[in-house]
Amino acid sequence: MFNRLIWFFPTVFGLLLLVFTISHIIPADPVAFLAGDNATNEQIADLRAQYGFDRPLYIQFINYVMGTFQGDLGISLYTQRPISDDLLGRLPATLELTFVSVLISAAIGVPLGVIAAVYRNSVADHILRLITVSGLAIASFWLAILFQLFFAMELQWTPLQGRIDGWGPDHITGFFLLDSLLVGDWESFGSAFSHLVLPVATLAFPAMATIMRFTRAGVLDAINSNYVLYEQAMGFPERIIIWKYILRNALIGTVTQIGLIFGLLLAGTVVVEAVFDWPGLGLYAVQSIMNSDYNAIMGFTLITGTMFILINLLVDVLQGVMDPRSEL
């Protein structure tokens, strides 16, 4: 555990170095891009000095690290606003999408995994395995487009894209579902909910497949263990053995997976937000790609990477609490 905590800062530092390295192998000159086509050489030199591009690389790196720890990720070349403000404003939309997707995928994936294990090699198990295999093979952007095609365009059950109709509930946390509940704004809640359905379904499908797979494997492991044999010999009802004793042990592995999945979903939002025009971090990253906004992409990479590292740390700690045997 201690070992993990110690490595947190070097890892984040390494991430900074990696992002800095990538952003400095740019073939195009960002300053020339910023100055425009008609800039004189002096104007470019001035800008270069202003942004610190004229200093030695290691000084630039030190300034970059210092700035980052003070929450300064630079100015977006496109919106001309601080990147940290842009990212912070969009964080709740992405987190809301990710949280709901993790919840849904675990709520469906865990019970289905148990069923697949208990009734292994039955028709139900084979059907569930087919769903798992498909979930892991489908490209999420294509699934998103399929959902749009059927449920939004043809059947018109859900909105095509966006996060909400109108202005949304009063800003408290930035999570529309939570905020609309807090102020009792049912109209906003309904709208936010209906906008969430398709993006969540897209993100949750492969996540559910992974969780199902791991729960199934975990439950199968537990079913063959001695303590289950003992409980069966003691005459415990099968239902209690499965849902209480076996599941608790099987879930230890699943919790690790759910943590990893949270990180993967965070990455998956890039593509899904692009399709559903969901105003989160992912869409910001895609817009930055379109606008060749290097600073913004690097800021996005850094923030997502740091969140990913934090989540992995949290999973390790949680696993240590749930399973004291695990070495940390």
Binding site: N121, V133, A137, A139, F141, N224, V286, G305
Partner: protein, 286 residues
Amino acid sequence: MFETIKFLIKKLAQDRTAAIGVFLILSLILIAIFAPILATHPADITEFHPPERLQGPSSEHYFGTDRMGSDIYSRLLYGARITIAIALIAISVSVVIGVPIGLLAGYYRNWVSDALMRVSDIFLAVPQIILAIAIAQTLGPSIQNVILALSATYWPFWTRLVYAETRSALNEPYVEASIALGASPSRVMILHVLPNISSSIIVRTTIGMGGTILTAAALGFLGLGPPPPSPEWGRTIAESREFLPEAWWYAAAPGIAIFLVVMGFNLLGDGLRDILDPRTRRSKGG
């Protein structure tokens, strides 16, 4: 070696799902090789026929035509070449970089091996697609840069795997014996450790192909893949979006192609794992 391959083929043929995987992958390879023969309109990779744009599937155009009036079926076949090239080269580079680093870091126990593992941890700390986006965006959209971005982000998977497997192999009697007999480190690593951990590497590589194809398609979808008029599958799906729901065939064909290919590698990977690593047998307990 020959015996091993014969054993593998026999086992794979018995495993129905793995056999489906092999069939799908072989189809992809054959389609990529014979694309010029199979294609009905091979010139449509670069040629446009605007009057024929956005036609539905017909006997002339099996999968319809795209926004430029080009034949989607023919472009799909040529897209298979891009998919194979990207995945095969990116995965090979990742294996060639990742495996030796993992072997060295696993065999030696000093600060160099710690440092190597920390570097791979940092790469693993960022989701692959995010890092690939950052690199591909910086370098500009092209096939070479997609391959570079994917190789740069995927190698640590093999380093991690090989490191862990090497560490546990070092405790095995056969490795201890060869060290005691005076075998040099390179001899132990290449002749004793590597052959015994190769099955894990093969399984990881097969499943990695599927993941790489998905990531490459996502990069193409985001506009970071090979530029138009490339028939890359992810880009084709992105192009189709403004013509939905009317031109449904435009998005359907490349999406199904990606799905089948990734499915093929995943099924084969699962099957290989069952055969090569009895500890994680899928049908365990029943």
